[in-house]
Amino acid sequence: MVEKINQIEKETLDELSKVKSLDALEEIRVKVMGKKGSMTEILKSMKDLSVEEKKEVGKVANIAKTKISEAIDAKKEELENQGGSDKFFDYTYTLPEKVGTYHPITKVQQEIEEIFQGMGFMVDYGNEVVTEFENFTSVNVPEDHPARDMQDTFWLDNGELLRTQTSAQQVNVMKKYGAPFKAIVPGRTFRNEKVDASHENTFFQLEGMLVDEKVSVANLIYFMRELLSKVLDEKDLEVRLRPGFFPFVEPGFELDMKCKLCGGKGCRTCKNSGWIEMLPCGMIHPNVLKAGGIDTEKYSGFAFGLGLTRLAMMKYGIKEIREMNSMDIRKLGQIR
């Protein structure tokens, strides 16, 4: 029996020296020292021995047991210190995942809203269905202006219409905040157009307004330049104003940005002019300020419009405007 104990001790210590994982170590522990382990069994069978024999074998067994236990503990510590096993593990495997996405316009809109909020602008939305007064009259579009014609506007059977411009919100915003104020109105706008790769009847604009004492054209240029630099993430951006006619501003401008592709020399992107038309803007027309209840002798301000849909398409390189409203996540499910 002593021999057997010695054999178990030898074999176990031998095995222990080769063990490479905690799991395997535990296996050995159970095999030898567990309830039905080889060493335990031997100890159990000692009950049949004589007292003398018990004494002798017991001594040997206790020493062996202690040795094995110590060896196991030592090995355990060694392995734990190693920080795991050497077993093959495929760390390249990835669990199946689905990644949620935002609509491209949401991303661009949120970015721009945050830029404006950082500059102290209020964000407002307003309704998509508005009255003829809101969409046209309040922003100084004359009674017989072609823009009021049937062909550009979706008219509704209750006499109201789907707003053709976020400018429809100008006067409401003025009334809401009163002068001085700074606000933007992003939102969905509509034009009664045939839809194709570059035309949509539903798109997003952002209207911006700043009204205060002594706001000037020079301020407008500075502001728009800084804003576009931030929005387009472009340093040393050059902008220029040229006359543009919009009933709700006077003077009204088209703001161009120097073409970055050709540096202003002229290329296909800028139609050889060296400049890219970016946005309409201007000093808010006194009639509009008046409609908003603002004292035109004391206050002046500027307004501008940004095409959010166009900016989103530029930012992500989306070629077809139709995709924006397609609801197809193969196309739109890319903006994280």
């Binding site: 017989d144 969905r188 006077e250 609801m327």
Partner: protein, 792 residues
């Protein structure tokens, strides 16, 4: 609009100014130049030649062999297809190496065995007309060998294309003279006066019988001219018209067009034989009229018409009639130069679908002062061409609505404050005067009288003058200046806050995809899947035949979204925050912001999807408002809903939305085997829910006791009802109930289910005694048994 630089130079000297500079300054000061085209310089080595002989050859079917002499002593021959080629004729000849329209280089070659080393040209081939019917015949006294550019000095020109849209508010720029005035102001040059015929009142001549019955005619000026023999415009006029996009037709027609393009005043020439009098009136109902393009048109009622004693002869401001058209033998004409109301002309042109060069100008609000000027200029040009013409009536002028003169008082301070520039008094005065404003200064105030051609709608207020001064100064010369404003905290928009947060939760926690859609139903799609959703507002004039009904719910949009994406994906969640539209009691649009959500999965049951969506909604409301939602039976079931798997969602007893699984009938047509669950949440109501305050609660420091209850209940028991009943239990102890498991099936009667709850009980001030625990256990169980909830 096309502008000829030669024409402009008749009125303003632009020598020494580079065309690039013109382009830049005009674009910055006035209107966008879309293109610049050099004309004539592309025609090279084309000279006058005399046709010596024209021979037909048997093997040549469409051409004849023509010999020409171009005065260089060499023999030139070509195979020419022109039907009018005739010996003795002087024609343009493109000699070897020459360039004409459509051919970069003339080379010697053989046609049917005959030498061909030059090309005889039509007017089209040298670019001065689109006439390609035959060879251009040059005057018989043209010296052979003369370069074509010397014969037609006007063929060398620079044509500037101006963006029409940027001229909508500038009626004065719809003619060359107006553009020349602008150039003169921009480049500080003198504007030459328009040369006009002097027409004095003559007692021996009759006045025209002109009557204005329609008050939308502001002014009607007319004259008659007789003894017109010449029928062809000068080459110069014909070439200019062609370069500016018109075709030369006959002297009188060309002259009216020329005047329109020069002074911007549309004119009309009637054959005098058909015009006994002029009456400006209105069309009657269903009246028909043949315009001079020989189209019979049905006139909208009350269209402004020019009439003679018999009836209509022209649609005012749009197009003349066939009945009074100038004929080849017309030698006496009645010339109309009139001013009509802009809106009236525009509306008629839209209704008739007939937009002409004339109507395009009238609709910009032309200056009524132009009408006699145009006539005097017309007569001058006509007499230049045909000095035998005789004026046969007095210049008759009926001026019905004269606009009041506009004057504006403005201070330098106002201009400088708005521009952000320090203009001097002198600069302001000079700028305005160069643009033909009359300026007088008294103390600090400029008294500015607006010229009539700018006063029709363009300029009426102070800021208009700021624009005039600044654009001439050059916007590119204004130094960008930062705005100095006080720094104040900004209030955030709660709608934005909520929208952004909800989008973040859906996209980043639930990996949903945000979509955008149209705000109207897709009727075809609705029909296909067999739903007929309600709509309260309809588009009455959709251009593209879109569905004309605005959505009153997000569900059809969500179904469409599911149908598009189920083709490519077995599972997805899409959402949109968008508007739906109802009507209020005044029939005004009542627009509400909704979150629409669709969860789709091929491998899950409707019940599973419903519970998932419910959890999403629960999480959204909890995260954004700190409120636990509750649910109730749906009041108004959407037609696509599965009746049983549906509920309304409440927060603080306010209904904020609905969740339902889509019934099999609609789902199978929408997304095949992919199951769908929809939710619509009223963002307008959620935003108004007061956010629940977070109050910190310390956990009890005493040991709590956990009790498990496994009840056997009727299958049709709602969890909410049971929990609510449990929570009605009155006890001194604090307790918290949580559902652990629901089980139905093996070992349980078909009409029952087993529900296991865990109840944690405790006190804030002490550890529970076993009597307290037993007391709670027994009391709670008794209350449950009373309701028929028995332990399993």
């Amino acid at each position: 609009m096309f502008i000829s630089l030669n024409w402009i130079k008749e009125f303003v000297d632009l020598d020494g100014i580079d065309i690039k500079e013109i382009e830049k300054r005009f674009t910055l000061a006035t209107a966008e130049i879309e293109g610049i085209e050099e004309k004539g310089t592309n025609i090279k080595n084309v000279v006058a030649g005399k046709i010596l002989s024209v021979e037909e050859k048997e093997n040549l079917k469409t051409t004849r062999v023509v010999k020409v002499d171009v005065g260089d002593g060499k023999e030139h021959q070509t195979c020419c297809g022109a039907p009018n080629a005739e010996a003795g004729m002087i024609v343009p000849v493109a000699v070897e190496g020459g360039t004409i329209i459509g051919l970069d280089k003339v080379t010697a070659r053989k046609t049917g065995g005959y030498d061909s080393n030059c090309i005889l040209c039509s007017a089209k081939e040298i670019g001065i007309s689109d006439d390609h019917s035959g060879l251009l015949v040059l005057p018989s006294d043209t010296k052979l060998g003369t370069d074509i550019h010397d014969i037609y000095p006007d063929m060398n020109d620079v044509i500037i294309e101006i963006d029409n849209k940027s001229l909508t508010n500038r009626p004065d720029l719809w003619g060359h003279y107006g553009i020349a005035r602008e150039f003169a102001a921009i480049f500080k040059k003198e504007l030459k006066p328009l040369e006009m015929a002097e027409i004095k009142e003559d007692k021996n001549l009759p006045n025209l019988d002109i009557k204005i019955e329609n008050d939308k005619c502001n002014r009607y000026t007319g004259i008659t001219v007789k003894n017109i023999k010449e029928n062809k415009a000068t080459d110069q006029m014909a070439i200019r018209l062609f370069y500016c996009g018109m075709r030369s037709i006959s002297l009188l027609v060309d002259l009216t067009n020329y005047l329109m393009m020069e002074v911007g005043q549309p004119m009309h020439a009637f054959d005098k034989r058909t015009m006994d009098k002029v009456i400006v009136s209105s069309s009657k109902k269903d009246e028909k009229f043949v315009t001079l393009d020989d189209e019979e048109r049905i006139l909208p009622e009350n269209t402004m018409m020019i009439c003679n004693s018999k009836g209509p002869v022209a649609i005012a401001g749009i197009m003349g009639g066939a009945n009074t058209e100038i004929k080849d033998d017309t030698d006496e004409l009645l010339l109309e130069s009139a001013n009509f109301d802009a809106g009236t002309v525009r509306k008629s042109a839209v209704k008739l679908r007939l937009r002409t060069d004339a109507s395009a100008r009238y609709e910009k609000s032309l200056d009524a002062e132009l009408t006699p000027i145009a006539i005097k200029r017309f007569i001058k040009l006509l007499k230049d061409r045909d000095n035998g013409v005789v004026i046969a009536s007095n210049l008759t002028d009926v001026y019905k609505n004269k606009r009041p003169e506009i004057s504006i008082d403005i201070t330098k301070k106002y201009i400088n404050d708005m521009a952000g520039i320090d203009y001097s008094d002198e600069f302001i005065t000079e700028c305005l005067e160069r643009l033909e404003f009359k300026v007088t200064k008294k103390d600090d105030t400029f008294h500015v009288v607006v010229p009539s051609f700018r006063a029709t709608k363009d300029i009426s207020i102070k800021s208009d003058l700021v624009e005039e001064v600044s654009r001439i100064y050059g916007y590119d010369n204004i130094i960008p200046t930062p705005i100095e404003l006080p720094i104040l905290p900004v209030s955030l928009n709660p709608v934005k806050e909520l929208n952004d947060k909800v989008k973040t939760i859906l996209t980043e926690r639930y990996d949903a995809n945000e979509v955008h859609s149209y705000v109207w139903y897709d009727n075809d799609f609705c029909r296909e899947i067999g739903i007929n959703p309600e709509s309260y507002l309809a588009i009455i004039n959709s251009e593209d035949g879109y569905s004309a009904r605005l959505r009153s719910t997000m569900y059809p949009t969500l179904l469409k979204c599911a149908s598009i994406n189920a083709k490519n994906y077995d599972e997805f969640m899409c959402y949109e925050i968008g508007s739906v539209y109802n009507l209020d009691k005044n029939k005004h649009s009542d627009e509400k912001l909704k979150l629409g959500l669709v969860l789709a999965n091929r491998n899950k049951s409707n019940e599973e999807l419903f519970y998932e969506v419910k959890n999403v909604v629960k999480n959204i409301i909890k995260r954004t408002r700190g409120i636990e939602i509750s649910v109730k039976k749906t009041e108004n079931l959407f037609e696509a809903a599965d009746k049983s798997i549906a509920c309304d969602v409440y927060a603080n007893d306010v209904k904020i939305g609905t969740i339902f699984a889509v019934n099999d009938k609609v789902a199978s047509k929408t997304s095949g085997k992919v199951k769908l669950c929809l939710a619509q949440i009223d963002m307008d109501k959620v935003v108004e829910l007061a956010e629940a305050k977070i109050t910190y609660k310390a956990p009890s420091i005493y040991q709590e006791t956990s009790l498990d209850f496994n009840f056997l209940v009727n299958k049709e028991t709602y969890l909410d009802d049971m929990i609510k009943y449990m929570n009605e239990f009155k006890s001194d102890l604090k307790y918290q109930i949580k559902l652990v498991d629901v089980y139905e099936g093996k070992g349980i009667d078909d009409d029952k289910k087993s529900m296991t709850y865990n109840v944690i009980i405790g006190r804030d001030d002490n550890t529970l005694t076993s009597e307290e625990i037993d007391g709670f256990y027994n009391g709670f169980l008794k209350q449950m048994n009373d309701k028929g909830y028995t332990l399993r």
